[in-house]
């Protein structure tokens, strides 16, 4: 009798564990569980968690070079902070169509001080038009929009021959984006207007980018994306420096990419022109990569050169005459669906007597120190 009482609850536990034993009970239980889960699901739908999202990204990067030329900020001492960054983004939906997006980025190269990289209010008119106001990205390059998000890029670092030409990643202003289909081609047009103040370093001081105005167009067809962009601004030196005095400048670029899931090819070319003594440039790159399971090995050729050397006054020549070729080989390895490891070796040469566009590669007399450099980079990139 006693034994039966002990066995009874045990039998009940067994029955619920081995659902096949008591089909009606277990089915009812499963149904109840499902209804409960549905209720929870229903109640969370359209709730705060649906209107608000927090995302982040992290890059931990180490780089070392064979000399002190300063390519990508790296020298002979291994550097863990240059290129490392942490970003947090919050998106808050005010209505179905209107939201606020803010992105904070802390960079190792700035001693991890936090900067507001994006902060805008966007309104989606639900007919393909989206307008945004606030702090926005200058959409100069194919990867401008996710310049900070290493995980979204194939390389350990985007080719600096092109991506460092304009030392400005965001501006304050407005933009309008229009998405539409032209047959099988998905078209995105974007136009922006605004201004920015940037500290461009000791030599040029703080620069006011007035009246930033421009547009870009992107055409996606099957595995191909073609993009073209034109932006102009007027540069004016602030506080002490008189280097720029209302100098008009423009940037024009084209890009083409192909990605069929295995083969990856990306190429961009751009020209930039600044009135006065500052460098006018031509630069570009081509990257080829191929996905083999979790690995994406790639090679890149990139170049940068100044096109106005003959017009430059002598005192500015050593600093603003640039010439450089860069050859990279590297691989991306997807550790998991949100974590990637990248390794890269870049060899740069063809400086042709100039600094190679590397400001720390000139001695006090303005002579070239190194005629080439090799940089090794390892990068961990995560999104969460």
């Amino acid at each position: 009798m006693k034994k039966a009482f002990i066995m009874l609850p045990l039998a009940a536990v067994c029955a619920s564990q081995f659902v096949m034993a008591a089909p009606t009970d277990s089915q009812r239980l499963a149904q109840l569980e499902q209804e409960l889960a549905m209720l929870q699901e229903e109640s969370s739908y359209d709730s705060l968690s649906d209107r608000m999202s927090i995302n982040g990204f992290f890059t931990g990067k180490v780089g070392v070079a064979n000399n002190d030329a300063g390519y990508n900020g790296y020298d002979k001492d291994a550097d863990f902070s240059e290129g490392s960054k942490l970003g947090l983004q919050g998106s808050f939906a005010l209505t179905e169509q209107t939201k606020i997006v803010a992105q904070l980025v802390a960079r190792g190269s700035d001693d991890w001080s936090t900067e507001m990289e994006w902060a805008f209010l966007s309104h989606d008119f639900d007919n393909g038009f989206v307008t945004r106001i606030g702090r926005l990205r200058v959409p100069l390059y194919m990867y401008s929009d996710y310049l900070e998000v290493g995980f979204a890029q194939p390389w350990a670092s985007p080719p600096s021959e092109l991506y460092s030409i304009v030392p400005l990643s965001s501006f304050d202003g407005v933009d309008a984006i229009y998405d539409f289909d032209m047959g099988d081609v998905a078209v995105t047009l974007q136009a922006s207007y605004g201004h920015a103040d940037r500290d461009t370093g000791a030599a040029l001081g703080e620069v006011d980018y007035k009246d930033i105005l421009g547009a870009s167009a992107s055409f996606a067809y099957e595995e191909w994306v073609f993009r073209t962009t034109y932006y102009q601004t007027t540069l004016d030196s602030k506080d002490g420096s008189t280097f720029f005095d209302e100098e008009d400048s423009y940037f024009a670029g084209v890009g083409l990419s192909y990605d069929n899931g295995s083969l990856l090819a990306i190429s961009e070319f751009a020209v930039s022109d600044v009135e006065g003594q500052y460098s006018d440039t031509e630069s570009g790159y081509i990257t080829l990569g191929y996905r083999i399971s979790d690995f994406t090995p790639y090679v890149t050729y990139a170049f940068l050169k100044t096109t106005d050397d003959s017009e430059r006054a002598l005192p500015y020549e050593p600093a603003f005459n640039w010439k450089r070729n860069a050859y990279s080989i590297g691989t991306r390895y997807d550790i998991s669906s949100n974590l990637a490891l990248k390794a890269d070796v870049t060899y740069a040469d063809g400086f042709d007597g100039t600094s190679g566009g590397l400001s720390s590669n000139l001695d006090s007399l303005g002579s070239q120190i190194n005629e080439d450099t090799i940089v090794y980079t390892v990068s961990f990139d995560a999104v969460f």
Binding site: E41, N55, V130, D145, A152, S337, N338
Partner: protein, 137 residues
């Protein structure tokens, strides 16, 4: 005897694989069929509406699940990490966010059965009258 068992097991496995497969489902009141391109666009956020103009409620299976791999392999052609990279490009520019993920096929089915504009994918063996199959990759 052992060989026979092996043959029987292999046959069972093959027939199992041949019978089961991922199918795209919608609410019974939803569209009658969708093309691969339409499904792919919805799952990549490139289009946000069903053919009838209603805003689609797109539902994903859990990241890393076999069915998710099978679906994306046959429709968008992207692996889990490629999808993550793709969505991070949209998320970190404030341009979009990935579809809502629900971790159980039976819950997904009941969501689709109770939401007119929902679209999801499940194993064909789980399909019943509460939902409608609109595409088989």
């Amino acid at each position: 005897m052992k060989l026979l068992a092996k043959v029987a097991l292999t046959a069972a496995l093959i027939s199992g694989v041949a019978q089961a497969g991922v199918v795209v489902i919608v609410n019974p009141t939803g569209p009658d069929s969708l093309s691969k391109a339409q499904v792919s666009k919805l799952y990549l956020g490139k289009s946000k509406k069903l053919p009838n103009g209603a805003k689609a409620q797109v539902i994903e299976q859990a990241s890393g699940s076999a069915i998710r791999g099978e679906f994306h392999g046959g429709v968008t052609g992207k692996s889990d990490s490629q999808l993550q990279a793709y969505w991070s490009r949209l998320v970190f520019t404030g341009k979009g966010k990935p579809p809502k993920t629900i971790g159980s096929s039976s819950l997904i089915k009941s969501q689709v059965a109770s939401h007119a504009n929902a679209i999801a994918y499940i194993d064909s063996s789980e399909v019943d009258d509460s939902v409608k199959v609109v595409f088989t990759p």
